[in-house]
Symmetry: C2
Subunit: 186 residues, 2 copies
């Protein structure tokens, strides 16, 4: 594995855990076991350039995970249930679920560049597109599918924040049980 990929991999986790401002360059160098010179060779524009690369890495990892699950199960209801189960599984194994969200970056956006905002926005849109396509296949109108996709995205992201705050996977369990209500055709 090359150095650049190593930096992206390790730094992605650090950013997800502690946020952008919460991770110092020296910490990155230490954990990656590299020098400043090496870091700046791969990211000439410094830490924020690394952040963008990490966000793209998170985006790929998260969307491909979701796509995988949504391709494996026939309905949105089943796929969503399995997806949340997977996140809960990660929580129970690793003790945290920061790897499943970019909320640590989103929350700092106000002080970061517009490129960061766009990269975050892109990820959310991609997630919602996956949900929306499945919902349309379930028979919802395009408009309704889009609305439910936003609601799914919001409630899952919000529930992840609640889980992190309460140190418990319960909020995710609760919304997993309630989401079917949203997927009823009235």
């Amino acid at each position: 594995m090359d150095t650049k990929s190593l930096i992206i991999d390790i730094t992605t986790t650090l950013f997800q855990q502690k946020g952008y401002k919460g991770v110092g360059l020296n910490e990155i160098l230490k954990v990656c076991n590299i020098s400043k010179g090496s870091f700046y060779h791969h990211f000439p524009n410094g830490k924020e350039e690394a952040l963008i690369a990490c966000l793209q890495s998170m985006s790929e990892a998260i969307t491909s995970d979701i796509e995988d699950i949504f391709n494996r199960y026939p309905t949105t209801e089943e796929a969503t249930k399995k997806m949340i189960e997977k996140v809960i599984g990660i929580f129970e194994r690793e003790g945290t679920i920061t790897s499943c969200t970019i909320s640590s970056i989103v929350s700092e956006m106000e002080s970061l560049s517009d490129q960061v905002r766009h990269t975050c926005s892109d990820l959310y849109i991609k997630m919602q597109r996956i949900y929306s396509a499945k919902l349309a296949a379930d028979g919802f109108s395009k408009e309704t599918a889009n609305s439910i996709a936003v609601m799914m995205n919001a409630s899952i992201e919000g529930a992840i924040m609640l889980c992190l705050t309460q140190n418990s996977s319960e909020p995710l369990t609760v919304i997993s049980n309630l989401l079917p209500k949203l997927l009823k055709k009235v």
Copy 2:
């Protein structure tokens, strides 16, 4: 108004906008127009002590706002609708809604003290208690009321994050329109 309250008021906004790590002590002093000596007189244990005070201030402001609205409207559905309308109004007037959430702090929690985590958790529990009480009054069983309250909390917090990311109040509008589906008694 005394200095301590002034510091708490101004710093609360800064923390909500930029997160804990994102706000330097010098910035606080500058905006409050006070000196280091004055700051450390009121908060001998430094910045994190100020954060706890600010979190309590946010907690009071947010819960009393919600309580106010939930007392004014007869059903959860109406109250929720009005509450989200209010947040959207703030977004349209101020261009942001960081004042309505503690997500910036929640996202940094992994690197902060356990006291911070508890204070954040407390706020979420208080919000859910207000929702849950109203839902019980609407006729839901205690258990169901608690579940829906978690879902409301998660989806609203999540939607706020989406709004901040997309620079648009649309996600809040979408969930406001969908929440009634959750409040249907099956």
